[in-house]
């Protein structure tokens, strides 16, 4: 687990302080805190709840509603494997599984060393390149078990 450092706590408190008196502060505060910590664990949600005087249940509801927010720490690099129809029939699933096995990570999870987070996505509009993989901002075409590892080697 990625620890929330003292410095992060200070930043979080600063964010809360800045938004405190405004209405509709919750979403911006969550966004900013997530960009500080990379994710929104319960301890951070509790701090925000106390600071903004917004019930913890409401905050949890908002965090789990928007897919943008995450309660698991994110890795340095985000891998997205497309499982849309075109990619699926061309072998998206085994590709996904090979990454899971190689790095011991679930879909939606993050590797222990915080190097990668793995997600599966619906069609990304690149069916001509199927099966497709996206790492951070780069899209890769026709990936396979063989070349995936080489590609990922480039992301430390």
């Amino acid at each position: 687990m990625k620890k929330i450092t003292l410095k992060m706590w200070k930043e979080i408190d600063g964010i809360i302080q800045r938004h405190k008196e405004k209405s509709g502060a919750l979403i911006p505060v969550l966004e900013e805190c997530q960009s500080v910590c990379g994710y929104l664990p319960m301890e951070v949600q509790e701090r925000i709840s106390k600071g903004l005087n917004i019930p913890g249940s409401t905050i949890y509801g908002v965090v789990t509603f928007y897919s943008f927010f995450t309660m698991a720490p994110k890795g340095r690099h985000i891998i997205k494997i497309c499982l849309g129809t075109a990619c699926y029939v061309r072998g998206g699933k085994p590709n996904l599984e090979s990454i899971q096995d190689e790095f011991g990570v679930e879909t939606g999870g993050t590797t222990g060393d915080l190097r990668f987070s793995l997600d599966s996505v619906r069609c990304i509009g690149a069916c001509g390149m199927a099966p497709a993989m996206v790492v951070d901002d780069d899209t890769y075409a026709q990936v396979s078990k063989q070349n995936i590892m080489k590609i990922l080697d480039g992301y430390k």
């Binding site: 319960m42 949600q45 709840s49 005087n53 019930p55 913890g56 249940s57 409401t58 905050i59 949890y60 509801g61 789990t64 509603f65």
Partner: protein, 904 residues
């Protein structure tokens, strides 16, 4: 009514008020539109779309709960299109979960089931989805079955907008949607406080009362309305009965004071009624042990012993403790028994320990010692000042009124309390005063208000007297001087003073944090001063509002269970009143000098001057201050009779124990904290040979040579009407139809929800110049910490009733010492460490609970628990006027306790 506001529903014309929804117009006119998610009186969420109607000229069907009525709109509520849409909707809802009605608790009381029947949804064409979330059964009170949840959101609205406990919310999204508590934790690990409002509003079987599971189907239960036996809010409840057993409690929805809301005690604290430990036969102590006896034998023995003691030591050697738990009628008889039969004014009850100072203080200032305004006025307040009341725990349903007024209304809240109580979260200003310095901050606020010319001059001039003296006294209470005494920063005090003075109407709510002091009466008078200064007494939404603790503590006072007054606060020292009473009661004469208070009777028992006590439904061995002393004092009596429903700690040391009945087994009335007289109905038969308290008093009285002949509680009320002006017009027939607040002198009188309108009961309101006096005991080297005591939500008083409930015990199993994190660090105390707390009078041990509610230098201990009775520590220093003990302040020291050589 505006002629422009006309609407046509199902071909009939109706008028509507601007802003009314289609649903409201329909309901008002008896047209039944089905609803699921909508809670009457609250903002529609439009979540379920069952209430769809066809509005001519619009393409889509519209939810009637959220659509305002429009002029000349033509509405169809059961057209083919509407029915079709509802039909599909119901089908989808049924398919979205696991709706097997066979063993569902909601069967017979389920809106979805009703709708399926009404719209004849027989087969479901969609595949039933499997539930993502397992049923939550981890707490003792509420079961959450997510497979039956239709996500209507009523529970979320009830928790956030009605109770304002803010424990649950919508979580996740799409097919994974779920109602969640913080962190999606089970309720018992979340912020939930088990008020059960969510259970009450859930239209299906997704939320149910666990203790009621498999105890009876909806149609087998008899449902009878009565009044909650716990706190002074006086919530109206329905007891659901099967086979002489209470199996469920629900709130009565359509009326005051609670409009369906309850707290955890009211909803789940009924186990004591059918408890196997209830007393069922009279007990007589022989050679140190109890044996069962017949009523005849027990009553004759009591009559004989009381008779002997009266003969040899005089009537004033006997005392009676009446009870704030028994009915008005019974309290009336108890004082009649003391005065007419025993011939003494030594009658009192536990109000002495909570609000005697309120009664004394407000009676001198205003002429009437009770809450000035009704509970419903809370929503009319612009500013609410709460001090010395941990409202969310001690008067939960009133706290919801306050939270609603602040969150959804226009009120601002100031909390002045030594602890950061839960209500502080809702406050614009939370102010922390040192213990026992209330007169000082009140004087300080008045100083600022007068200096800045913010007081209501016209009101002060025309409605009050004594202003000049007040002005002189508060002159020296500058914010700087007040800071030295109270520790309240000058800026905060000034801010509070301005907020209070600039808001009209502003109301004050207080409870034992104000009254339970050596200066209790002074504190109360200070509240009265402050309120009058700004013209807040006698107006809607204003007032001085003491929150009374017990269900019928107001009634016990009203009906004369006090040493100095008959019913209706008619003083015993007034010869004319005495004569009139004596005539009605058919006795030669009545004792003229005021009797002893509860606290004094205990002291006199210790000194051997009181020889016998007749204690009805009270447990002084846990509730009295300086318990070690109280225990010895009672042991010193020649004769002790205790009348109760359980063998309480006090009953255990009695010579004779008389089994009485619970509120569910008797008829009568209780008077709640807002002077609202409400009916108590007999719902089940009492266990064994237990008898109603009024019957026991009559039976005893007859054996002592004075016959009281009453057929039922109603006939007692008729006598009360004759001799008690303020209760003159209160009858059972009227109470069935309307709520009555005393004073209600005649049968035509509508009652008086608001006191002192236009004129104070005593004519002019009286200001009292009051100087600050420090508490009797303050911390020193040897005892360096302040101790204050109070309640927790889950228990009531000494726990005689609540501790019979597994569910409540599970939520608050034992005593604790609440301590701030700073003090914990200084004393090297960790959460859960066993602490020994000692004062000059005694010591107890309990586990530490580190909390940000506690402030450095002050610890808090709840007083409910006999095993670690906080009252072994408290100080019995008395208020000189009201004789109320100083429960709220004493000095203690703490150390880690070691059991068998190790920290447990």
């Amino acid at each position: 009514m505006n002629i422009e506001n006309k609407i046509i529903i199902n071909s009939s014309e109706f008028y509507f008020k601007s802003g009314e929804t289609i649903l409201q117009v329909a309901e008002r006119n008896g047209i039944d539109i089905p609803t699921l998610c909508h809670i009457k009186g609250y903002m529609p969420t439009g979540a379920c779309r069952i209430c769809l109607v066809e509005v001519k000229g619009t393409r889509n069907l519209l939810p009637s709960c959220a659509t305002p009525a429009a002029h000349n709109a033509i509405i169809e509520t059961e057209s083919e299109r509407v029915i079709r849409a509802r039909w599909i909707n119901i089908e989808l809802l049924l398919a979205s979960g696991h709706h097997n009605c066979l063993t569902c608790e909601a069967n017979g009381d389920c809106r979805l089931q009703e709708l399926a029947y009404r719209y004849q949804v027989e087969k479901i064409r969609f595949p039933e989805s499997i539930s993502l979330y397992p049923t939550e059964t981890s707490n003792a009170l509420i079961i959450r079955d997510f497979s039956r949840c239709i996500l209507c959101g009523r529970c979320v609205q009830a928790c956030n907008e009605i109770q304002v406990n803010r424990a649950i919310s919508y979580g996740y999204r799409g097919v994974t949607s779920k109602i969640v508590a913080v962190g999606d934790l089970p309720l018992n690990e979340s912020d939930c406080i088990f008020c059960g409002e969510c259970v009450g509003v859930c239209p299906v079987g997704a939320l149910i009362e666990k203790p009621s599971r498999f105890k009876g189907r909806a149609w087998e239960l008899k449902k009878i309305k009565t009044t909650c036996p716990y706190c002074g809010v006086g919530c109206q409840i329905n007891l659901h009965v099967k086979d002489n057993k209470i199996v469920k409690v629900t709130g009565v929805e359509d009326g005051p004071p609670n409009f369906g809301s309850l707290c955890v005690k009211g909803r789940f604290g009924y186990d004591f009624i059918n408890h196997p430990d209830r007393l069922t036969v009279p007990l007589i102590k022989e050679n140190g042990r109890f044996r069962e006896a017949s009523w005849n034998e027990a009553l004759s023995l009591v009559a004989e012993r009381l008779g002997e003691i009266k003969l040899s030591y005089g009537p004033d050697s006997i005392g009676v403790f009446s009870s704030a738990k028994i009915t008005n009628e019974e309290n009336y008889l108890a004082q009649k028994f003391a005065r007419a039969v025993l011939g003494t004014n030594n009658i009192d009850h536990c109000a002495r320990l909570c609000h005697a100072s309120t009664v004394a203080g407000l009676a001198i200032a205003f002429g009437s010692g009770a809450m000035t305004n009704p509970i419903a006025d809370i929503e009319k307040s612009e500013l609410i000042l709460v001090t010395g009341s941990n409202t969310t725990e001690a008067h939960p349903v009133i706290s919801s009124f306050i939270k609603r007024a602040v969150e959804f209304g226009r009120a601002k809240l100031i909390v002045i309390d030594p602890r950061k109580i839960p209500l502080a979260k809702f406050a614009t200003l939370w102010i922390r005063q040192n213990l026992g310095t209330d007169v000082a901050w009140a004087n300080g606020m008045m100083h600022v208000i007068i200096k800045e010319n913010l007081y209501d001059k016209a009101y002060v001039e025309s409605r009050t007297e004594g202003f000049e003296e007040l002005k002189k006294t508060v002159k020296k209470y500058t914010p700087e001087y007040v800071f030295k005494i109270t520790g309240i920063p000058a800026d905060d005090l000034i801010k509070a003073a301005r907020m209070y003075a600039n808001a009209r109407p502003a109301s004050i709510f207080f409870a034992m944090g104000i009254t339970q002091h050596r200066t209790g009466t002074d504190n109360v008078k200070s509240m009265a001063n402050l309120s009058m200064l700004c013209g807040n007494v006698g107006i809607p939404g204003g007032g001085v509002n003491p929150l009374r603790g017990q269900n019928n503590v107001q009634g016990a006072c009203d009906l004369g269970a006090l040493p100095n007054v008959f019913s209706g606060y008619q003083t015993v020292s007034d010869a004319a009143i005495r004569e009139r009473m004596a005539e009605t009661w058919n006795v030669e004469s009545l004792p003229a000098s005021p009797g002893l208070t509860v606290t004094e009777m205990v002291i006199k028992a210790g000194e051997g001057k009181i020889k016998a006590l007749y204690i009805i439904g009270e447990n002084p061995l846990v509730s009295d201050p300086d318990l070690n002393h109280a225990e010895k004092a009672l042991a010193n009596l020649d004769f002790l009779v205790v009348q109760d429903i359980f063998l309480s700690d006090t009953a255990k040391i009695a010579d004779v124990v008389l089994p009485s009945v619970s509120f569910a087994e008797k008829d009568g009335t209780f008077t709640n904290t807002e002077r609202h007289v409400q009916r108590v109905h007999k719902v089940i038969n009492p266990p064994g040979k237990a008898r109603q308290d009024w019957k026991i008093i009559c039976d005893l009285s007859a054996r002592m040579g004075y016959t009281m002949t009453y057929r039922n509680s109603d006939t007692i009320m008729k006598e009360i009407n004759r001799v008690t002006p303020s209760y003159g017009g209160i009858s059972y027939t009227r109470l069935e139809k309307e709520g009555l607040h005393w004073p209600c002198p005649t049968v035509e009188h509508p009652g008086t929800p608001r006191l002192h309108v236009g004129r104070f009961t005593r004519g002019l309101g009286l200001f009292h110049p009051i100087d600050y006096i420090p508490p009797a005991e303050v911390p020193d080297k040897e005892y360096p910490l302040y101790l204050t005591t109070g309640r927790v939500l889950y228990h009531f008083h000494t726990g005689t009733m609540t501790m019979q409930s597994e569910g409540l015990n599970g939520l608050a199993p034992e005593c604790f010492v609440e301590i701030s994190s700073e003090d914990a660090r200084n004393y090297n105390v960790k959460e859960g460490d066993l602490l020994r707390v000692s004062s000059r009078r005694g010591e107890i041990t309990a586990k530490a609970r580190i909390s940000d509610q506690a402030i450095r230098g002050t610890i808090f201990i709840p007083f409910h628990f006999a095993k670690a009775a906080a009252n072994k520590l408290t100080n019995a220093a008395l208020d000189p006027v009201a004789k109320i003990p100083e429960f709220k302040v004493c000095a203690v020291r703490i150390e880690k306790a070691w059991v068998h050589g190790e920290q447990r």
